[in-house]
């Protein structure tokens, strides 16, 4: 079996489900993209999706639909998306085997 583009951890799935339920509008799912901004070039975006784009890569994991922007596919290939939470902060994090470096502040990366 081919390796999936992206693996979601159980806590990521739960959190996405909760957030989708809380959102006022119905959603198709969530969309992951990349942007060429930040100090070393690229950073991920993570947004609710109102519709499916024609070239989006779609993965479904436990009823959660994740759309991946075609531009993001090659960067995200083989990553894991996790949700972490501690006393001070919470949010999603990607661990990416393709990544070669991160900028000092951890906001962007290059491959």
């Amino acid at each position: 079996m081919a390796q999936p583009v992206l693996i979601l951890t159980q806590s990521a799935i739960e959190r996405v489900k909760t957030l989708l339920e809380k959102r006022a509008k119905p959603s198709v799912g969530i969309r992951i993209g990349v942007r060429s901004k930040g100090c070393t070039g690229l950073s991920y975006t993570l947004e609710f999706a109102d519709e499916t784009g024609p070239y989006d890569e779609i993965i479904e994991s436990d009823d959660v639909k994740v759309l991946i922007d075609p531009k993001a596919v090659m960067f995200i290939m083989g990553s894991q998306m996790d949700y972490v939470e501690d006393k001070l902060t919470s949010g999603f994090v990607f661990t990416n085997p393709n990544e070669k470096g991160r900028c000092g502040c951890g906001e962007s990366f290059h491959v």
């Binding site: 996405v16 969309r31 999706a49 949010g91 999603f92 906001e107």
Partner: protein
């Protein structure tokens, strides 16, 4: 870096500054008020637990510091001690002052400096702001009495630093009020801002013209506030406490008698204080070379202006009705918010302020040589050359003072340092240039250079910037206390504080 799931298109630029809010804070003697600009208009904030007027009172309840009215033991009106020395007469009004411990007030099992009290109030305000607006506080403009001296301004900056509030700028309370008044009403011309609060009186003359707020002259008294009238009332009628006195004073502005005390009784007590404010007003007019008829309007600011007697006397003095268009309690905070907004986001508005007090140096015979006279527009740079009075004099003490009096002992000592390693020259041959720089906030930097020979030494003392923590404030207070005997210790301490003082030696 953790990602949040957001609405489509709402992903923020990485590295963009976190979205925050800038506010104006009127850190008052009796109350503090916060205002913010929303949709181009300044508004005061009302918090869940009160406001817009938050009492500047700190108490200790179950081991935690609380801000607000309390039936427990409290510290209040401590703004009057900001930047003060333990020998200041105002200290006699604070029985909580601990003896022999510098400027520390007891509160339960703890002791606090006035800076720490202010920091508790500010940090309470910060929490309230962030909860109410649901945004982090990015920075603030904090107001100070125009007549605050260098030490009191530094103390205010330190309090903000302790509370974790970034200050965009300190601005003077009457200047802030004029901004609120001028932008609200579009007034142009020469205006007097009569600002009388719980602790201080300030009078500023401003020229308002097309977005420019130019302070022409300012004057005041830091020890002349509503608190002093409360105290006089408390003594005259043997009232149970000062709080009762203040309540009585406030009620007698609305009704003519209460609990056997009449408004006439209060006015007899208050009149000498009102006259003092008018004599300061007269002096400021004289300084600025203006006559009463040149003044287009008198803007009322501060709680004391609600007393009918004040209205009546000021009206008689200026021969016109004082302007009460803006809320006397809110004006300063509103102006501070407008200033914060324009500093942060840019605007055409320009504030041109002045030095409230003369800055000078000690010269022979304990006299003061004024380098920057009061009411000089800011920022200001000035320098003066001095020479030695003894053959082969190896050093020179530079003693920086603030105040209007002729003798050093009657002025406030700000900083004292020694210019060492002067070249061996006959008396009168060395040339020492002392430079004063006062920035737009009214904070001073002094430097001295010996330039008679190729050898030059440069010493710079910045009594103001980069200070934080109470240790530093303590150091300032102590150095002022022991200044004369303890220059050496102070110099050593200063050498360790690279941020506040640095010595550079240049040989060329």
């Amino acid at each position: 870096m953790l990602l949040q799931l957001v609405e489509p298109g709402k992903t923020l630029d990485p590295h963009a500054p976190p979205p925050g809010v800038v506010v104006g804070i009127d850190l008052g003697t009796t109350y503090s008020v916060v205002a913010v600009v929303k949709e181009g208009k300044a508004r005061v904030l009302t918090f869940e637990d009160g406001g817009p007027l938050i009492p500047s009172i700190v108490s200790l309840i179950d081991g935690e510091f609380k801000v607000g009215e309390s039936s427990a033991e409290t510290l209040s009106s401590t703004k009057r001690l900001m930047g003060k020395d333990v020998t200041d007469p105002i200290c006699s009004q604070f029985p909580q002052l601990l003896e022999g411990k510098g400027m520390r007030l007891s509160l339960g099992s703890h002791s606090l400096t006035p800076i720490e009290v202010a920091a508790h109030v500010l940090s309470h305000l910060r929490c309230q702001i962030e909860q109410t607006l649901e945004l982090p506080l990015e920075a603030a403009v904090i107001t100070v009495p125009a007549y605050f001296d260098e030490a009191a301004r530094i103390a205010t900056k330190q309090a903000a630093a302790l509370a974790g509030i970034k200050i965009l700028r300190l601005i003077n309370e009457p200047t802030a009020a004029s901004l609120a008044y001028g932008l609200e009403t579009g007034a142009e011309g020469i205006y007097a801002i009569y600002d009388w609060g719980g602790g201080t009186f300030d009078l500023s003359l401003l020229k308002l013209e097309k977005g420019v707020f130019q302070v022409l002259a300012t004057g005041g008294d830091l020890n002349l506030g509503g608190d002093d009238i409360d105290r006089a009332l408390f003594n005259a009628f043997q009232l149970p406490d000062l709080r009762t006195a203040r309540h009585l004073k406030e009620c007698l502005s609305l009704q003519t008698s209460l609990e056997g005390v009449t408004r006439d009784d209060l006015e007899a007590i208050a009149l000498p204080f009102v006259n003092q404010t008018l004599s300061i007003t007269q002096d400021v007019l004289k300084q600025a070379k203006f006559k009463v008829q040149d003044i287009k309007g008198v803007v009322f600011v501060g709680g004391m202006t609600r007393m009918p007697l004040v209205y009546q006397e000021v009206e008689t003095f200026f021969k016109k009705k004082p302007l009460c268009d803006i809320n006397a309690d809110h004006a300063v905070a509103l102006g501070a918010a407008l200033s914060a907004h324009s500093l942060r986001y840019g605007s055409d508005t320009l504030l041109l302020d002045v030095t409230p007090l003369s800055l000078g140096l000690e010269v022979m015979g304990g006299l003061v040589e004024k380098i920057i006279p009061r009411n000089t527009p800011l920022p200001a740079l000035a320098s003066e050359e001095f020479t030695t009075d003894q053959d082969g004099q190896g050093g020179m003490i530079i003693h920086v003072v603030q105040g209007e009096r002729e003798f050093v002992e009657d002025c406030r000592s700000l900083a004292r340092f020694e210019l060492k390693g002067l070249p061996m020259l006959p008396a009168g041959a060395a040339r020492i240039r002392v430079d004063f720089a006062v920035d737009a906030e009214g904070l001073l930097t002094v430097s001295a250079i010996e330039k008679s020979t190729g050898l030059s030494q440069h010493v710079e003392v910045r009594p103001s910037f980069g200070l934080d923590g109470t240790e530093l404030s303590q150091m300032i207070f102590e150095s002022q206390k022991y200044g004369r005997e303890d220059i050496k210790r102070r110099l050593e301490a200063e050498e360790q504080l690279k941020e506040t003082t640095f010595f550079k030696k240049e040989y060329g």
